[in-house]
Amino acid sequence: MKPDSEDFTQLRRLLALKRHEQPPPGYFDRFSGEVLARIRAGDTGDAVEDAWFARFWALIEAKPVFAGAFGAALCVLLISGIVNTDEPDAVAAPLMSEHVTTAAPMPEQPVILVADQMTGPDLTTNPVESLEALFDLSPSVQPVLFGR
């Protein structure tokens, strides 16, 4: 690294221009009074840019890793929300399979599916009701006995 040298002489001359930039006349005569007035009014010196969301946004902008992590967390939340709303169907499935297994008819007892009795709550989400309707053997139905 080169030490401070004459290479920057012209630049430093130009930068001297900045010292001549002055605020409007009387500005500093009022400055401290305005500061104290705001302190007396209860101002804490935290403007909008210090609000929590502004700090959070500044963190996201400063570190893309946090932005990615935040986005991934949102996606996980969204997917888990979708999965959880689908869970009643998944819970119902084992019940249905279990019911079918235990209610499986013996070979000697033919299963009669009666169309009349298959009406009813077809659209119900309660599998038990539909299964009862499915395997309900009303007295009016005579099972067919196959000859031996």
């Binding site: 012209q10 630049l11 001297a16 010292r19 409007p24 500093f28 400055f31 500061v35 010196g45 700090r55």
Partner: protein
């Protein structure tokens, strides 16, 4: 006619003399209370003591923030908020550094946070140049027959200089502001920026290189 540097009240210096380092503490005059006494009184709620502190450092704090933002309105808001926040945080000021350095640090952090949020919409609102600018030997030497752009005037130079400054990153702009514009030493800048002196020097060198490239049309 006596020309004076508006920043220091003294005759302007040329570029060969090192920048003047302002006192970090006010002169020990009999009539002016010491900074420590004012801080202690302000801690106990004495707003007149805090008013004295604000008046001592308002010009330097405002100037730093203004040179960083190139916007008078933003500089006004940020400088005021820095002093207000410093007052609210006086109880946490442990006295390890001078009050001046501490407030400087608050103002710088506030300004950098503000600039990061405003990154995509910079707006310059430049202060006017005072009457002494036309007689500053540094500037007279610059706008001479040796300058490539001879027809340039001070207002245009001011605009181009500020545009170039705003192209620097905040840390590089800050170190140029504190050293080359306000005359702080490397040590003082290291305390304000909370980094080591080597970092200050390297940032300063890089920033000057960048500025020289941006402003090549206006420099010899």
């Amino acid at each position: 006619m006596i020309m004076t540097d508006p920043a220091t009240g003294k005759p302007p210096r040329n570029a060969e003399t090192p920048p003047e380092v302002p006192d970090t503490k006010p002169p020990a005059e009999a009539k002016q209370p010491a900074e420590e006494e004012l801080v202690q009184r302000a801690r106990r709620g004495d707003l007149r003591a805090y008013d004295e502190l604000v008046q001592r450092y308002q010009q330097r704090i405002y100037a730093t923030v203004y040179h960083m933002t190139a916007n008078h309105e933003d500089a006004n808001d940020l400088a005021q908020e820095a002093f207000i926040k410093a007052y609210q945080a006086l109880k946490t000021f442990k006295g390890g550094s001078s009050f001046y350095t501490w407030v400087y640090r608050i103002a710088v952090n506030k300004t950098i946070n503000f600039l990061k949020q405003r990154r995509n919409r910079p707006q310059m609102s430049l202060n006017d140049l005072d009457l002494n600018a036309e007689h500053d030997p540094d500037l007279v030497a610059l706008i001479s027959e040796k300058t490539p752009r001879r027809e340039v005037n001070l207002t245009e130079l001011q605009e181009k200089l500020n545009e170039a400054m705003m192209r620097l990153s905040e840390p590089h702009r800050l170190v140029v502001t504190l050293h080359d514009v306000q005359g702080l030493s490397h040590e003082e800048i290291a305390k304000i920026m909370d980094c080591n002196i080597g970092t200050v020097r390297s940032r300063l060198f890089y920033a000057r290189q960048q500025l020289q490239a941006y402003l090549s049309d206006y420099l010899k």
